[in-house]
Amino acid sequence: MTSGFQSSLESGTFTVTAEIAPPRGADPDAIGRKVAPLRGWVAAVNVTDNQSAVVRMSSLAASRLALAAGVEPIMQVTCRDRNRIALQSDLLGACGLGIPNILMMTGDHPRFGDHADAMPVFDLDSIQLLWVARTMRDEHRLLSGRNLAWPPSWFLGAVENPFAPPTEFRAARLGKKIAAGAQFVQTQYVFDVTAFERWMTQVRDLGLDGRCHVLAGVGPIMSARALGHLQHEVPGVHIPREVARRLLAVPASRVADEGIKVCAETISQLRHITGVAGVHIMAAGNEQLIPDILRLAGLDRGACRAG
């Protein structure tokens, strides 16, 4: 099992990934419909793990469905819902099912989701989970010390938010994730390119860009309501005043177009920052627009293809 996503990054190609959410339901074709317009445009798709602590089809099953639909998945795994036993078991299952890429994160607290009364697990944190996964892959050993008869092979990733306090610690925190096992990182939405560049400078100063592929998170803001949601309801998203003003300056019917334009311009800016290996597009249900955004940003179909 090889990761085309990994090959793309290692070849030095500017690499694009996109995010899709599994369905709230058991429809086996929902994933295929979502990834169809992305085929050839992205190297891989992130499959979210009960994002925002809202129940959806499992990321493991949905990743397998993405694979069957011909798009390489990056299975997201959070520490919110499973203890160390279930996490290791699901990781092995992912490898058994041919899922080559795993992205590990702590996860949103259940308080924000549709089961606010649920027990938050957080038995491991994202760094410990990366550390365990790397040990399973490289040392063929579980956290318990028991050996694995058939060692897994994964391309391991992490997330980082360059904009959340303590901002001066964020590059160093990426360093911890790399020491634990991260080979690629995808960031929170970048709307403030200047602040992102400050973080990237620290990442380069610590020599981390040579140890880990950095994909900057981007996404189009499609309405004034979406803007308000990102500003006030999604933890850790920072939208500079100029961007908000630009989106609110156009008539309501044209906010979506403006949002797409802002997103494409951001991608073009990010491409010129040393150490940025690609972008990760979070279009929140508007995946069909991703080809348009990439075209606007000057990235052709296939240019960002894996392998």
Partner: protein, 158 residues
Amino acid sequence: MYRAHRLLAQNAGYQRLAARLERWPALSRLFTAAERGVKQELFGCRMCGQCALPVTGYACPMTCPKQLRNGPCGGVGADGSCEVYPAERCVWVLAYERAQQAGRSADLLRLHRPIDHRRVGQSSWLNYWQGRDDQLWTAGDDLASPALIGPAGHSAPS
């Protein structure tokens, strides 16, 4: 706080004392209650039994709603507030400030292994003095030659 830690630092005397205390359940319960009293008052201690305070700027990571021992999550508000309880400050923002002020920011780069749930409710001082905490975190940032993770209570294989 760092001065107070020197007072409690591991030594052969404490190790003997701890081993002896543990032989008397009533005495070790009393000792554990005293530790709880002091640390709850000072740090909001949750009695995880495997104290991280000496390397987290004396801000207790177990008070984080996600109990993150390796640093802040990505949801910290722009004003440094906790994403889950916005009226409170993120404990890792506090840890970062305190560690910086004390010139101990390198401490925050250590990798913390997962906690041992069997030790929840125990005295972390008794555990620490008897060397049970020796594998709780890495000696440094481990970037040069990242260690692999070993099972709880065992040394990581070299």
